[in-house]
Amino acid sequence: MLPYWLGLLVAAIFVHFSATPNDSFWDGHPARMLLVILGAVMGAVSFGVELSSNTLPLLLVQPLSRNRLWWEKMSVFGAALTTASLVMVVRTPWEEGWGWGSGILVDQWSAVVMLWAVALSIPLWTLVAGTALGGTVLGLAGPFILSVPLVALIEITMERRGIDFIRIARVVHTYLSVALPVYALSCFLAAWWRFCHYQAKGNGGDLLAGFAARSTRGRFVFLRSGRDPFWNLVRKEVLLHRVSFVMAGLMTGVWFLFLAMLAIVEGLRGQITDEVKNGTLIPTLSLDGFGIGLFAGPLVIYAMMIPILVGASAVAEERTLGTHLMNLTLPSLRRGQWGIKCLVAVGVSFVLGLVLPCCASVVSSDVRQALGSIPSRELLQLALILTPIQLLMVLAATWASALCQTTLRSAGLATVMIASLFVWTVISLNIGDFWHQGVVSRAVGEMMLHDGLKAAMILLAVFSVVGAVIAFLVLGYRGFRGLERRRWEHWAGFGAVCIFVLFMSQMAGILLGALHGQGQG
Amino acid sequence: MFIQINFSSPKPAYLQIVDQIKWAAASGAIRAGEPLPSIRPLSEQLRINRNTVAKAYSELESQGVIETSAGRGCFLKNPGSPLKKEVRHELMIEEIDGVIVQAHHLQISGKDLLRMVGERLEHFEDSNNNHK
């Protein structure tokens, strides 16, 4: 539990120091999201590990009442949450005058509320899902469904009625401050009840995987299992990512539910036609970063999480299932298996992480334009930028998966790597309003742009991505094909991560500099 | 015919099978021309290596106790040994010498020995008659 606690504190510190004005929680400030996710993971792990390794019966056999066991678990968790919340909200004396308006404090508090809401509901979802991973996915989906679509609905309906923004904000805050705690408390109590009445049934605890397995069984019929090992492997690999499919399904389901709710509300008010035509009804995903889109924030988080989840499942799932050994003893080239594995991971990540959100946002934009099947230019640009990023993320997560025993740990390792890249890029380019400040790499980027070295810069970017891809594939293969890991390989992996982070952040700096120069010029 | 392998005996399993089949033949439990159990079901029943049974059968065949006909299995042969009478008698004398030495060790007198031999011969005869 300790590493998670530390991670939670670090995230809280980061949130504390990176708060800026004009930053609304729903814009999906990454650090806050990360904090919430970490809190969810910590809660899920406190139960999930025992559930999936079937050691919970061992625990329950101890001569302690279930109440006592429950509170012991929750107290550690609660302590971690409390410390993290205090770090986020409390301002030390020497921070006075840093420019924290009341708006910031409210946002920090809302982050705390969100953290507690998610965290308190996690034990229930973990008990329901049967694994730490499933608990995390369901637990994050719960408050998300409760807050984002309903809040969006409230905001838009009230805006239609011409109510001013301040009153809307107040209503939203009231709703959230009631709904979230109620949800969290009821989940917590339900989990407590369930724990006390827990029956250790033994087999088949993984709800999410079972559900995904049942619902995907007939689907990939076109990939028939026949005499060809290639298609059998592809089919097996695709089905290995069942948790990602569930997550994508949840996201899509919520999205369409929201659209349907909106349509119903607007339909009831008879105002649907004009708004749909103008495209002002539903906000679009714009390239303006984490802009005005209500769904944009969570959608971006989803687009970031899916590649990591897919990559992390690639090898670690097999290790958890126990089939990794079986595959290594089959008379088939390991290189071939690894190649197919990576290919399918990239493909699934592409479909679920890029194509799906693009389709979703296409639907949300001007419907007629979508029917005209010309996606907006902004969307294409975003897709173009996201593709190499997601490719790198999925392969980084696959490499992590080849090293770790469980999907959750691999995802954690990959997230740490990506997060360090982000953090380091921000740090090396100055935190904050970085569009208006420059350092070496950004200057290099601008210079390259103005000196007409645009092609060279693009080539450099492409080479660095290709280099990283090859590195991950090669290093990942080493972890995949063997059953043992020598100590130097751990250090080599750590070194690879550092090189990756340092190098990529400079590349990002160059590109950002060029973009900035383009924007200005 | 019931065959049983005793793993506590220093005698290899295949020899035990050979001896028990020979015993069965001598006591009339199985007659000439009757089929022996096939290798696979016997090895499964005794839960021993198939090759052990195969070895036993090939030993029996080389001793001329059984004969194999392709496709139909193994059959007990008519007791017609290919060895000449003198050779057979010599082999028997060796066995008899062994028995006499053993009797001396166990302090069985010559008279008792002869009586016991007679009893055992009668036993086999009766067994043969019962099986007829």
């Binding site: 087999n203 088949g204 993984d206 995987a209 079972g210 397995a213 049942r214 995907t216 069984r217 299992s225 026949g226 005499r227 060809d228 090992p229 059998n232 097996k236 089905l239 069942r242 299932l321 126990g322 089939t323 050994l325 079986m326 290594l328 003893t329 089959l330 008379p331 088939s332 080239l333 390991r334 063997g482 059953l483 043992e484 | 392998i5 793993f7 506590s8 005996s9 220093p10 005698k11 290899p12 399993a13 696979r40 090895s43 499964e44 005794l46 839960r47 021993i48 290596n49 198939r50 090759n51 052990t52 195969a54 060790h105």
Partner: protein, 296 residues
Amino acid sequence: MKSTDAVIEIRGLHKSYGATDAVNGLDLMVRPGRCYGFFGRNGAGKTTTIKCLLNLLKPNQGTVRVFGRDPSKQEVEVKSRLAYVPDQVAFYPWMTVNETLRYLESFRRKWNRDIENDLLERFDLDASKLTTALSKGQRTQLALISAVCPEPELLVLDEPTSGLDPIVRREFIETVIGAYQEADPERRTILVSTHLIREFEGLIDEFTIINNGREVVSMEADTARRQFQRVRARFVHAPPDLAFASPRSMRREGREVEMVLHEAAPELLERLRGYPLESFDVESLSLEEIFVSSLR
């Protein structure tokens, strides 16, 4: 039998995990058509050796040859001629029994559908059942079917019957004898690593007992039964000094003596019989007793 004909040949195998030596100079040779037993205590190095055979681990020192080939260099060639039944059997939970068999079949050149149907019927396995719905014994049976159907030349069994009920264990052994060995006895080799030595007693032709990464005993089963004997004797008078017999272990109770001999020879037994005895019993040790006696 030339050593080049050996199915498995291990010479001077060394494998260590960090500071501990799992395997410390092991020699092993398995000839075709034999059933080879590989016995040892937990942690003695059995699984490590088997993993080196399958190229799951790289030996630090020594040579490993399967079918005369190096498993780390000609991996696919070697693996296509053998089948492995691990101790922890695992399948994909979304596949049915039938789908699992089809999946595994696609990697093999040969697959005997008749044996598959025969065994499925014999084990009473429903082919459309999900693998998660199978009991442990049924999963092992499925693993065995998938190992026997491709008709491999070598069957490697690692703790195959641990945790199974007696009926399943019997069926397992009967299948190995019947379905596997029957078809081509000269070229069907079995390497079985197990604790349930008693069950495989009849199957084993040759065995090696390994301890602390080294072989302790290595001989044919028939020879072992001649050499490892337990003598129970009741002497008329007080028992004499029996040190000449160099027993492995001896138990005295009044006039009764029980000895375990590791190198019993007929002359030795004759000499023992020479003493005035009330009773004299000689019995071969079972393989399991040989195991216990060699390692205690």
